[in-house]
Symmetry: C2
Subunit: 494 residues, 2 copies
C-alpha cells in the first residue's frame, strides 16, 4: 500500500539481498511511480548522488542504467538523466497543439502538479510535510463529524422509504445544505439564494464544472501566477490557453491583466481572492473594485476560489459580494476545515448560469452524496463549524508565529506578509533542486516552480504554517541548501 | 423546491387570479425550466393544445405569444413553436464545429437527455415513472445501509487522528473497498488486483474519467444505438464524434462496427455488455469473442459499462473476463442496487492505464468520499449485498412478468426479449409526441428518440419493469395513443 511507504528513503545497506545499485534504482523507481519525481525532472548528477548516498560513482551509474533499461528515465547528451513522461501523448497536449496555443505552454506535461497532491495522501501516519496543503489531522474534530452524521442517519430512519439515501437526490445538491450555505453567504455579503447554489464533490470539482461549462479547448483563461498548481494543471489538460497574471505582495498586476485581456480576449479569470495560495495575499477593496471593472470592460467572468474561507480574517471582502454575483461564480468547500475525505464543495453562480452548471454536473457525476452534504448542513446550522473554525484559527496563529521565526532564522525572506495557512518565501536557491536532498531526509517541500504555469525554475517555496513548526525540518533545510551552494549550483535564480 | 412540483399539470381554471392563457403559459414555462420539454422540442399544435386543455385556440395563441415574449420558445414559419436552446452556444458544439465532425451530429443540443435524469430526482414522493431508470426506493434496504455506516464510524473512532475522515484518502480510492471489489471481480472471472481498480463518484464519473483520459475533442468513439442517453450526451459535450453501432435483439451489429472502425479509426467503444440499456440484451460468448477480435484488429479499447451487474443472470460473460482486462476498462457501481445517493462507482483497467486514470481523477475531484466507499466494502465483505440483490432479483422477476402482460395487452410489441430492469418496446406511434399528453396525465415516459444519438423520431419506448406495473398507466397510455391516432398523427414511424 502506498500509504505505508515512508517518505524518506531507507539508507542503502551492504547487508541486504540486493546490491547497492539495485537498492538505489529501486528507491528512485518508487519515487517516479509515486510522482515525487515528476516526468521531466532531472535526476541528481552522478557525483551528487554518490556523495549523498555514500557510494561510489560507479554504483550510481549502474543504478541509472537499470532505470534506463526499465524505461523509467532517459539520458540526454551532455545534460544527464531525466524522468520519462507518460508513454502515450496526453489528450490535452494534442488538443493544445491542434489549437496552435503558444501562451504559457508548459515545458513538460503539467502532471507533476499531482506529485504534491499525491503527497497529501501519503502523509497519513508519517511526518508532517512542510509542502502539504492540508491541516494536520489532529486539528480536525472527529466527534463533530460523527455527531453530525449520526444526526442525519436518525433523520433518515424517520423518513423511511423517502430517506435521502434511497434516492438520487436533487441535481443542484441537497436542499438543506443549499439553504444553510445561502445563510452563510449572506453573512459574507453574497446574495446567493439557495437556487443559485450548486453542490460539488469538493471545491476542485466545482472549479471543473465552471471551466467545463464556460470554456472550450483553445479558449484563453486568466490564472494567478504564482497560483495553485492543480488548478493550472486541470485547465491545461482541458486544452485551454493559460494567461498568467503576476501576483505579488500587493495582489494581481491589473495592468498586465488588462493587457492580456485586450490581446487574448479571455472568457474567465480563475483566482483566489482571500488568502491566496501560495502567497497568502487577500484582495483589498480597491483592487477588488478595479478588477470587477476590468471584468466588465473586457467581458470576462471571474471564478472566485474561496477555499480558505474559514481561515480568513473577518470582513475580508469577496468579489462576489462587491459584484452581487453578477459576473462572479463563487466557489468554496470544507476540505480545509472540516473533513477532506467528505469531498463537499459548492458554487454560487449568476442566475443565467445555474442551469448550465447543473447540466455539466449531471453529465459528470449525476448528483453528489446527500448524506455528507446533509452532515455539513448540520455543522453549519448549529454553529458547530464556526466554533471549530475559531479553535483552528487560534492553533494556526500560534503555528504561523513559530514557523515564521524558524524560517527567518534559517535565512528565508517572506515574499508576502505571512497570513492564513501558507507562507511564500525566498530560499536563495533553486527549490526544485533543493527538493531532492530534502526528500532523502524525509521532508516533502513545495518548490516554487510548481506554482508557475510555465514551470520556470524558482528560488521560492511554499510552506504550510501548520506543518513547518518542526525545528528538525529547518535544520535539514539549512544543511541541504549548504550542500547545494558548496556543490556550486550557480547563482540564485530570481 | 423542484421536488414538490407535481409531475402532472394542474387543470386550467377560470376561478383563478390568472387568465387561462397565463396559466397555460406558466405550465409550459415550468416544464421548459425542468427540461421536461427539451430545447428543440415542438410545442403541441394550437388545435391539439386547445382540445387537450378544453380552451379556445385563441387562448393557446395568447399563451404561446407570452412564451415567445419571454424568449422561451421561438416560432418557425409554417412549422409551429419550438423550445429555444440555451442562450450561449455550448462549448462542445463549438469545438465540434471546429473539428469539422459530421458523424451523428445531434439535430439539437444533446441536453434534453438531462430531462430524463432530472425526472429521476423528482420521483421522490410522487407516482412511479415508467420511464425512470432506478429501482423503487421501497425495494432498497435502509437498515443495511445504516448498519454498514455505523460499522465504519465505529472503526473510525478507534483510529482517532488517523481516521479516514480526517485525511484526503488514497487517490485510487479506499484500499478496503478496492480489495473487496477485487474479490468480487475474481468471481466474475475478471483478473483485477486492487492496484488495477480506481473508485469514482458513481459509474457515470468512472466513464467520464475514461473518456477524458483516452480521448481528445474531435476523436471518434463507438457507442450503442440505441444506448443510454446520458452517456451519448456526455461524449457529445466532450466534443467527440459519435459512431452509433446498431444494437438489436441479437446484440451489436459487428459488420457495421467493423466498417465504422475502418473508416473512422475510433479509439474507444463504450458499451453495456450485460442487460444493455434500453434493450435488456446480454452479449453471448461468441459475440463477445468476435468483438474483442475487432477491437484488436482496429486497435480500439472497450469501456464495458456493467451498471446492472447485480441484476444480471449468473454466469453472464463479461468482456473484461474474456479479455483478461487487456483492452477493456470495466466499469460498475452501486446506484442501481444499494444506494443511488452514495455515488460509489469504480473502474478496473489495464495496468498501463491506471496511473493516467488516477491523474484524471485527481484533477477532477481529488479523491472520492472514503466513508461511503468503506460502507460499500462492508456490504460486499459480509455477503450482505449479495443477499439483498437476490431479494431484489425476485421482486424484479415478478414485476417484469406483470409489466410484460400489461404492455402486451396494451398492444405493445417487445423489440428484444424482456430481461433485467428495462423493456424496449414498439408502441406504433411517435413516442416523443406521446410523451406530452402522458405528462399531462402525470406519467413520465422515456421516448425512443432519447436513446439515439441522432435523436431521430421513434415509435419505441423504454419501460422500467419495476415502475410499470400500474394498470392505470397503461390505461392512460392507450387513451393517449388513441387521441394521437384520431388526431391524424400520420403513419407510424419505423
Amino acid at each position: 500500500m502506498k500509504t505505508d511507504l515512508p517518505l524518506s528513503a531507507a539508507p542503502l545497506t551492504r547487508h541486504s539481498g540486493q546490491t547497492l545499485s539495485e537498492q538505489l534504482a529501486g528507491q528512485v523507481a518508487e519515487r517516479i511511480r509515486q510522482r515525487l519525481l515528476a516526468p521531466g525532472a532531472r535526476l541528481p548528477s552522478v557525483r551528487d548522488a554518490a556523495r549523498r548516498h555514500g557510494v561510489s560513482p560507479h554504483t550510481v551509474v549502474a543504478a541509472y542504467d537499470q532505470l534506463l533499461a526499465q524505461g523509467l528515465v532517459e539520458a540526454r547528451k551532455q545534460r544527464g538523466f531525466f524522468v520519462r513522461g507518460p508513454q502515450a501523448e496526453p489528450a490535452a497536449a494534442r488538443s493544445r497543439a491542434a489549437s496552435g496555443a503558444d501562451v504559457a505552454a508548459p515545458k513538460v506535461a503539467p502532471i507533476d502538479a499531482t506529485a504534491l497532491i499525491r503527497g497529501m495522501f501519503q502523509a497519513g501516519g508519517g511526518r508532517p510535510g512542510p509542502g502539504l496543503g492540508t491541516l494536520p489531522a489532529a486539528w480536525l474534530d472527529l466527534p463533530l463529524l460523527h455527531g453530525a452524521l449520526r444526526r442525519v442517519l436518525a433523520d433518515d430512519r424517520q423518513a423511511g422509504a423517502s430517506a435521502s439515501a434511497l434516492l438520487y437526490g436533487e441535481p443542484a445538491g441537497d436542499p438543506r445544505l443549499r439553504m444553510a450555505l445561502s445563510n452563510r453567504l449572506q453573512d459574507l455579503g453574497i446574495p446567493a439564494a439557495p437556487e443559485r447554489i450548486v453542490t460539488a464533490v469538493g471545491a476542485t470539482h466545482a472549479l471543473e464544472l465552471i471551466s467545463r461549462t464556460l470554456l472550450a479547448p483553445g479558449d484563453a483563461v486568466l490564472v494567478d501566477d504564482p497560483g495553485w498548481a492543480v488548478e493550472s494543471a486541470r485547465l491545461s489538460r482541458q486544452g485551454l490557453r493559460l494567461l498568467p497574471v503576476p501576483r505579488g505582495a500587493d495582489g494581481p498586476d491589473l495592468d498586465v491583466l488588462a493587457a492580456l485581456a485586450t490581446q487574448h480576449r479571455p472568457r474567465l479569470y480563475v483566482t483566489v481572492s482571500v488568502l491566496h495560495n501560495p502567497t497568502g495575499h487577500t484582495l483589498g477593496l480597491n483592487t477588488a473594485h478595479r478588477l470587477l471593472q476590468l471584468a466588465q470592460a473586457h467581458d470576462f467572468l471571474i471564478a472566485e476560489d474561496d477555499t480558505y474561507a474559514y481561515l480568513a480574517p473577518p470582513h475580508a471582502p469577496r468579489l462576489a459580494a462587491l459584484d452581487g454575483l453578477q459576473r462572479t461564480v463563487y466557489v468554496s468547500g470544507f476540505s480545509k476545515i472540516l473533513a477532506p475525505s467528505w469531498r463537499v464543495g459548492y458554487l454560487a453562480a449568476p442566475a443565467g448560469l445555474v442551469d448550465r452548471l447543473i447540466d455539466t454536473k449531471l453529465l459528470s457525476t449525476l448528483t453528489s452524496p446527500a448524506l455528507l452534504e446533509q452532515a455539513v448542513a448540520v455543522c453549519l446550522e448549529q454553529g458547530l463549524l464556526r466554533r471549530h473554525a475559531e479553535k483552528v484559527g487560534a492553533l494556526l496563529a500560534s503555528a504561523r508565529a513559530r514557523s515564521v521565526r524558524l524560517a527567518e532564522a534559517a535565512g528565508c525572506r517572506f515574499l508576502a506578509p505571512p497570513q492564513g495557512l501558507f507562507g511564500w518565501l525566498d530560499t536563495g536557491v533553486d527549490t526544485e533542486r533543493l527538493a531532492l536532498p530534502l526528500l532523502d531526509a524525509g521532508w516533502l517541500i513545495a518548490p516554487g516552480s510548481l506554482f508557475h504555469a510555465s514551470h520556470r525554475p524558482s528560488t521560492a517555496m511554499r510552506i504550510n504554517f501548520a506543518s513547518s513548526q518542526d525545528a528538525a525540518f529547518w535544520k535539514a533545510f539549512v544543511a541541504a541548501r549548504a550542500t547545494m551552494k558548496n556543490a556550486g549550483s550557480g547563482p540564485a535564480l530570481s
